[in-house]
Amino acid sequence: MSGAQPVLWLPGGEEHDPIANKTFGFWLYMMSDALIFAALFAAYGVLDHRFNAAGGATARQVAHPVDAFWQTLAVFASVLAYSLAMVKLKAGSRLGVLLGLGAAALLGLVFIGLEIADFASLIGQGITPERSGFLSMFFVLVAVHGLHMLFGLLWIAVMMAQVALKGFTTEVVTRLLTLRLFWTFQASIWVCVFVFVYLRGAF
């Protein structure tokens, strides 16, 4: 063989960036989550019809966009608080990150509280998921998003503990970044819920 020897082995050549790998993997997971919501929105599109209301309440009677607007503000403010925590992460301030995460969690709780109050008032009026196909869909779509928010709140709590106990290790920083992705994604799903369920239902 003429010329340079071909390179067959590169010892230690597998320099994989752990943060990049995990972030990419988490984007893929978000893709599957997006598909869950896509299927639910498609099902909502099918069942949002007066035949499927079966004589019960229709979208106009259950969707209160003004109430939902306060939820929108809460979830947006929560994402903003999380972003401020990320600014403090760049500065390396543990206290700043903890405060930002705490504020995000508090606003997330406000969102969940408003949603529970909304559901309670509907059920108080006899508008329950068992009444019709449309109402089943309405409650389950909104509740699936709510469950994601609850899961995010649990995750924020765990991350606050990890930031406090472990500091900014590579793993903790990776998780803070993926959690931001998750939290922002749930906020954008709420935008879709707000537009397709609440705005479209009321007008």
Binding site: W9, F24, I36
Partner: protein, 690 residues
């Protein structure tokens, strides 16, 4: 929202579980129970007698090694495939016996030996098991084993997640098996015929078993797709550019993209059914604003991509085997990649062809008909590529090659009948006939043939010795003969008007062909026997059949430059790739035996008990939900979340092997494959977490 009211007894501690659901008065179930109990006791006894519990837990159950996880996936799949085959045997026997009004009845059945309700459960579990718990795990296992080797990676991108996927799949399979003895399985078909799966028509636990087994298993599969895509995109070794990737890795990528986008829809379809059955909602009910076709649509939006999820890796396997045994590079590599992604792309837009007879109208049916026929173009490209690879090749008919060529023939039969079914007027005529059953069995058997080929082909890479060729060829001969007899007869019966899922057949003229099918099933049984014999003989004579890195002498793709059996660290030094078909290129340049000069320390993930624990808890959750034992389901769910959080606090999850250790293992050639008599070094030195 409140829980639905159920007929029958319910207690807080045991839910719907009573002694009467376990003690059956059915000879067949009792027989199966005795068989399973005896086999189980023998296996547990052997493990205890040889003191292998520590070995099993340390080396396998808590392992995060992608090869061991792959082998465990395949083992689960093979066991479930055997169970699914027994179901098939029972279906065929019942139909042969229960043909015509004069056919005798045995064991409480009016005709044949299975009462209708039992027969319905058997065909439902046959379909569910074969598709979701046999073929899917085996393919996922093969991708787990081979993809990291083909791209020069040490492991998957997320080894811990990989183990979680495996044990969730195991939990789902476990639920299906539990339904055999505790309660009963769904009687509504593997596709969950709606509204038969709704509570008023199926008040028992069968549908719940079906639903939760699939739900838990498919969470595992979805997480697995994330892992494989990230591995292929992010973990390729230097020089492994996109267009040097072996076709099997390409098909793995495309198939996992399908899986990632399709399985969540199945999750939604089943979760909404779960809301109907547990919370009394009305998504799919026949009244109060439910929509029956919503379930059917959602199910097949997953279901059809799932079919290609199965068949694309099979195409990848065929594309690996044929060049090796033709001693030629694969013809049309780029077109093969393009065809793979074309099939994946079309897979999302053909689901409605499963129910043309729904009556969506000519426009909708026309669209899906044309889309379905488009699949034939890239598939045709693949078949021609394989044919041109064979053309003027130096052909050797070892066992893997026989399976691969057999698969191509089956693909032709299955594909051409598929083209017939894609035409709505024909479809209206033969919808729900056994012609359809014969068609899709030909397609799924393409996958089965490829799986058996892949097992014979890659077995020496993983274990270091070849499977016995003599018995392997007998398995192939009997399996092929069985396939021909069963499905040639079934195509004919379809044209004669026989419909699907019948426990009693009215027309005695079908009898001769039904007997032909039964003879075919007999040949499948013989193939089963030779399969076990092949394993026995191969393990007994393993010293004779040891192989080097290039087990077949003509391997082309990069896994053949790793040692056989593959050490736990895969490659002693990271390989650098110079060509498509790296192994063939190195052989051509005379570089096959060039070992790395230097070694670097290698980090491998430490073992952990968390994934099997999550699997066991998922089983507990599923079992609790099926029997409505709320405390069990609730505690299991909380415990799963607890284990995940605890694990996230773990530190030092990796173990580093020094360069000297690797050098000594490489130069002494000590066996560091996945089946060793001694404890492999990373395990001996690393404490298992939790």
């Amino acid at each position: 929202m409140s829980l639905v009211h159920l007929q029958g007894s319910w207690t807080p501690w045991l839910g719907r579980l009573t002694l009467s659901v376990i003690l059956y008065h059915n000879g067949i179930v009792d027989g199966a129970f005795v068989f399973a109990a005896v086999t189980g006791i023998v296996i547990l006894g052997v493990i205890t007698y040889y003191r292998k519990w520590g070995y099993l837990i340390r080396e396998w159950i808590t392992s995060l090694d992608h090869k061991k996880i792959g082998v465990m996936y395949i083992l689960i799949g093979l066991v479930m495939m055997f169970r699914g085959f027994i179901d098939a045997l029972m279906i065929r026997t019942q139909q042969m016996m229960a043909d015509g009004p004069d056919s005798p009845g045995h064991l409480q059945a009016l005709h044949g030996y299975l009462p209708p309700y039992h027969f319905d459960q058997i065909y439902s579990s046959h379909g569910t098991i074969m598709i979701l718990f046999a073929v899917t795990p085996i393919l996922v296992g093969l991708m787990n084993l081979i993809v990291p080797l083909q791209i020069g990676a040490r492991d998957m991108a997320f080894p811990y997640l990989n183990a979680v996927s495996l044990w969730l799949t195991a939990a789902g399979a476990g639920l299906v098996m539990a339904s055999l003895f505790i309660g009963d399985f769904s009687h509504a078909g593997w596709i969950g015929l709606i509204p038969l799966t709704e509570l008023p028509y199926s008040p028992g636990v069968g549908v719940d078993y079906w639903m939760w087994a699939i739900q838990i298993g498919s969470v595992g599969t979805t997480l697995g797709t994330v892992n494989l895509i990230a591995t292929i995109v992010k973990m390729r070794a230097p020089g492994m550019t996109w267009f040097r990737m072996p076709i099997f890795t390409w098909t793995a990528l495309s198939t996992n993209i399908i899986g990632l986008t399709a399985f969540p829809v199945l999750g939604v379809a089943l979760a909404l059914l779960g809301c109907d059955r547990y919370l009394g909602t009305h998504f799919y009910t026949a009244g109060l604003g439910g929509n029956l076709m919503l379930f059917t649509d959602l199910f097949w939006i997953w279901g059809h991509p799932e079919v290609y999820f199965l068949v694309l890796p099979a195409f990848g396997i065929i594309s690996e085997i044929i060049p090796t045994f033709s001693e030629r590079p694969l013809f049309g590599y780029i077109t093969m990649v393009a065809a793979t992604f074309a099939i994946a792309g079309i897979s999302w837009s053909v689901w409605l062809h499963h129910f043309f007879t729904m009556g969506a109208g000519p426009d909708v049916n026309g669209f899906f008909s044309v889309a379905t026929m488009l699949v034939g173009i890239p598939t045709g490209v693949k078949v021609f590529n394989w044919a041109f690879t064979l053309y003027r090749g130096r052909l050797r008919f070892d066992t893997p090659m026989l399976w691969a060529v057999g698969a191509v023939f089956l693909l032709l039969v299955g594909g051409l009948t598929g083209m017939m079914l894609a035409i709505p007027p024909i479809n209206y005529t033969i919808h729900n006939s056994v012609f359809v059953v014969a068609h899709f069995h030909c397609m799924v058997l393409v996958v089965a043939f490829s799986i058996f080929g892949a097992i014979a082909y890659w077995f020496p890479k993983v274990f270091g010795f070849r499977l016995d060729e003599h018995n392997g060829k007998r398995v192939f001969a009997c399996f092929s003969l069985g396939t021909f007899l069963v499905f040639a007869a079934m195509f004919a019966l379809g044209f004669m008007g026989m419909t699907r899922r019948l426990d009693y057949l009215a027309d005695p003229h079908w009898k001769p062909l039904l007997i032909v099918e039964e003879i075919g099933v007999f040949f499948y049984c013989v193939a089963c026997y030779y399969f076990f014999r092949m394993l026995h003989v191969s393990i007994r004579d393993r010293a004779k059949n040891r192989v080097g890195a290039d087990a077949w002498g003509t391997g082309r793709s990069p896994e053949w430059i790793a040692r056989s059996p593959v050490p736990f660290y895969n490659f002693a030094a990271t390989p650098h790739f110079n060509a498509l078909d790296e192994a063939a290129w190195r052989r051509g340049q005379g570089l096959s035996d060039v070992a790395p000069r230097d070694y670097e320390p290698i980090a491998t993930p430490k073992n952990t008990i968390a994934p099997p624990l999550i699997g066991a808890l998922a089983f507990g959750f599923g079992f609790g939900m099926v029997w409505r034992i709320w405390w069990m389901a609730g505690l299991s769910l909380i415990a799963i979340i607890g284990v995940v959080i605890l694990r996230s606090f773990a530190t030092e999850t990796e173990h580093v092997i020094s360069a000297e250790q690797i050098r000594s293992m490489e130069t002494t050639g000590s066996s560091v494959g996945i089946v060793t008599d001694h404890i492999s070094p990373p395990v001996a030195e690393a404490e298992a977490f939790l």
